[in-house]
Amino acid sequence: MNLYVFQALNGLGVGMIYFLLSVGLSIIFGLLGFVNFAHGALFLVGAYAAMFTAEQTGSFALGLAASFAVVALVGVVAERLVLRRTYKMPHEAQILVTVGLTFILTETIVLFFGPQPRQVSMPDMLNGVLMLGPYPIPKYRIFIFVTCAVIGAALWLLFERTLFGARVRAGNESAEMLSLLGVKVTRVYALTFALGTGLAGLAGGLAAPLRGADPSMGMEAIVIAFVVVVLGGIGSFSGPLIGGLIIGVTQSMMTAIWPEGARLTIFLVMAAILLVMPKGLFGRA
């Protein structure tokens, strides 16, 4: 029994990473109505950006900063050059274009870093465990949990309590009206895109010390993000949070119970929930 509690607590850390990953996807979809299949590849780029920066500078914090900054930059460049042309196209076209982008990003990473998985070390300060009652919890998981919770709260404040957030929400309602009011909508779009993609990068940077970095992690991430979004709904904060935690905890607990089937279970859980609640956990129009 204790093992399960322990695994569940561990799963909260992974779940928060899934939240961070999916909330970026959700933000971009919410404002732009854009389905970014390349979100997983951006997660991958974030992991390698963090690894490379940390190796070069010796600073884990700089690595995390780089994972956000590099990926946000990649996201903005891709938005400017290609993705902006697809806003008026059907979602299917957006997905196919970003599948193409996924190929390009993944192969670029392999080109520079090779196909082998890489270990990513965490700072000494975060190595080791912290006793939470009777349960030894790795410090790094606590760090992830706290970091993601702070970021989640900051995002909520940003979107609900600032002028920028009001503009994003207004753009969501009517981009045309917003531009008639003198707001540079394309700039709001670009900033939102940078933020949403940057979050995927940061999630990759945070996940790297847990699982290492390898070229297949992008595909894994996009599938997880989609499962989270299918369960929790898209365009909200609570959906990705609860969806992410459910998936993270399930995966972590099943690793203890049935290791070969741990990843299988994620999808079984999703299928079961969809059978009972075809519209996901919170319903949607």
Binding site: E92, G100, F103, L111, F226, V227, R263, L268
Partner: protein, 324 residues
């Protein structure tokens, strides 16, 4: 109105069948080997079945690779257990593919737009991890090996690999001819209505969910047939057949060929197979080029090779009319 009338009258079945036969006969010459050409025909079936979903029903499915993989596993399991069933094993695969499509469709078809895409992707991963977790059935990471080929009765005159090719060619022609009939049937026309305006189709009394589900099952069955043929060609069913990468490959072929062109799907399969074969020797990171090609196709030639072909034909027809 006039345009559609012209297409209906001018677009008779003869050239289509001739093109299919010519494609099957010329593919070994173009690719330079019977086995590569066999793979082209197999993926042509899968890409054309993907077009039924993408181009006609308007649904982007990432589960195509699952049907393909299940088709190859089922043909392998059936033939290993009962070598006597012969080609009947292909029929078992088709049924398995349709059943899987029914199951995935039951979860996903009610969902609109992107949710459908996301659920098919997740279900494709489910199928992949299930194959990995059930090595007793699928051989796990090694795949299912030593699948016996059923006797075709042509081996004596054609040799083993050529008679496999003949089998693939016959089923390629039959499958695409079948799909052509499907998309031109009243059922296919109602799929057009659903794709163009789902709400209107529903209001007009069409059972939208059922139409989509039937299309998904046809697509799943034919894709499983392709997977089964591929397993016979390889004499094995590798785990990679059920990988997401297979779904993506089939999708890219369908897009390259043109989502509303069945013969285009064959050319998409040919182009992608040749690219994979030639480019991968030149540069191991050739998939980056596929990425650029995919983006360029969606942005600038949304109807793919088939669209270019149709454009050429109609401009020629217009020129001929002017000359006359």
């Amino acid at each position: 109105m006039l345009e559609t009338l012209r297409i209906r009258l001018g677009d008779s079945a003869g050239p289509f069948y001739l093109a299919l036969i010519a494609f099957a006969l010329l593919a070994p010459l173009v690719t330079g080997s019977v086995s590569t050409a066999g793979a082209v025909l197999v993926f042509a079936i899968a890409a054309a079945a993907c077009n039924l979903m993408l181009g006609y029903a308007g649904l982007l499915s990432f589960a195509q690779g699952s049907f393909f993989g299940v088709g190859s596993y089922v043909v392998g399991i059936t033939l290993k257990a009962h070598p006597g069933v012969g080609l009947g094993a292909l029929a078992v695969s088709v049924i398995a593919g349709m059943l899987l499509a029914l199951a995935i469709g039951a979860l996903s078809i009610r969902q609109r737009g992107i949710y459908f895409v996301m659920i098919t992707l997740a279900m494709a991963q489910l199928a992949f991890f299930a194959s990995l977790a059930l090595p007793g059935w699928t051989g796990g990471e090694n795949g299912l090996l030593d699948i016996p080929r059923p006797a075709l009765g042509l081996e004596a005159s054609l040799g083993d690999s050529r008679s496999q090719y003949a089998l693939a060619a016959m089923l390629f022609i039959a499958s695409l001819a079948f799909l052509r009939r499907v998309v031109r049937s009243p059922f296919g026309r109602s799929l057009d209505a659903v794709r163009e305006n789902e709400l209107r189709a529903q209001t007009a009394g069409f059972d939208v969910q059922r139409l989509k589900l039937v299309a998904f099952c046809i697509s799943g069955g034919l894709t499983a047939l392709a997977g089964a043929l591929y397993a016979l060609q390889l004499r094995s069913a590798p785990l990679s057949n059920i990988d997401l990468m297979t779904s993506e490959t089939i999708l890219v072929m369908a897009i390259l060929g043109g989502r509303r062109s069945l013969i285009g799907a064959a050319f998409g399969a040919l182009a992608m197979t040749l690219m994979a074969e030639q480019l991968s020797q030149l540069w191991p990171r050739w998939q980056m080029i596929v990425g650029f090609v995919l983006i360029a196709t969606v942005l600038f030639a949304p109807n793919g090779l088939g669209g270019l072909w149709a454009q050429l034909r109609s401009s020629r027809a217009a020129a001929a009319k002017e000359a006359a």
